[in-house]
Symmetry: C2
Subunit: 193 residues, 2 copies
């Protein structure tokens, strides 16, 4: 998606260790007009899917998911919560997620009340690297008996392989920008053609 | 705001210890159409304020803030991040917040890049009880030199006093539902007249 790639080039900062900082428009300060364009793009790409619920994970996926829902008939949004010790009131679906940037493993969970076999889920998140968060969310959807209709990611780090592993498994993964190379020394960002 | 009060009566669950669970529409599963009505209501109540940025705190304020921004000319949203040990890359404004429900104290922070003396801020959050999160966010805005134009809260627990303390200090606090009494035994919820 050209406007997202252009914005990454304009405002993204590359740091050592394959870190791409986009916190001025995506995941600390958030550009809501951009999110609306992203939502329209996902709506077009998933036009043939019957999606009735958006699932994401706290914290930086939540604003994207809320705006995406406005392009999908204002369907409900559910966000998976993170905890370092699963001690939750009530019945939940849970999975384990390892953060690439924070190098920590969390339990993530969704109340069983908010996912059911009748649900057709679009999972959205801001970043996809090795795919740990996405694997956890897919695991949670599968536990509930709901259907994963698609995966919508703002920025995929293509060179880390997570995205291609989901494509190989047959998921419709729509990443709006796929970064193939990050060069911290020269602040160069290359996208997949 | 009648539709929010009606929804709390319909779907809210009162638990011992003055806990009001509204996670089926406000802070785990989220009703985006309701959030749009809330956003319109805040836009009307803050019609005379020149607001150019929305500030909230992760995680459950984020979706509300994103939808609120769509009613305020798609202005940027910034969310304060929580951490149990402040060890953050770059210069930040920070404050301490104690969670009423989790009985824990966090450091919360916002990058100095995203708040400036030119900013006119609407702070929004899902709940207000004693006001710790709101105090932390106001502290952060004050550190930056920006102006707090108003405080928008979905559900205020009026009997815990936080809301009235902000009103006494002269803030325009617009809580869309003010709960005066919670009775867990009979699941009774009473609102301020």
């Amino acid at each position: 998606m050209k406007i997202l790639e252009d914005r990454i080039i304009k405002d993204g900062v590359v740091r050592a260790g394959n870190v791409l900082k986009v916190d001025c428009f995506l995941n600390h300060q958030m550009d809501i007009s951009l999110f609306q364009e992203m939502a329209k793009e996902w709506k077009a790409r998933f036009a043939d899917k019957k999606i009735n619920k958006i699932l994401t994970i706290e914290a930086s996926g939540i604003a994207i998911a809320a705006i995406v829902a406005t392009a999908f008939d204002n369907c409900p949004v559910v966000f998976a919560k993170k905890t370092e010790s699963l001690n939750v009131d009530g019945a939940v679906y849970s999975s384990k997620v390892t953060s690439f940037t924070k190098k920590r493993t969390y339990d993530v969970f969704v109340s069983q009340k908010y996912l059911s076999p009748d649900d057709h889920i679009l999972i959205v998140d801001d970043f996809l690297a090795v795919g740990s968060a996405l694997n956890g969310l897919i695991d949670i959807v599968n536990q509930s008996g709901a259907t994963v209709e698609g995966l919508g990611i703002a920025i995929e780090k293509g060179f880390q392989g997570g995205g291609d592993s989901f494509r190989e498994k047959g998921y419709q993964l729509e990443s709006l920008a796929i970064v193939e190379k990050l060069d911290a020394e020269n602040n160069v960002i290359e996208f997949r053609k």
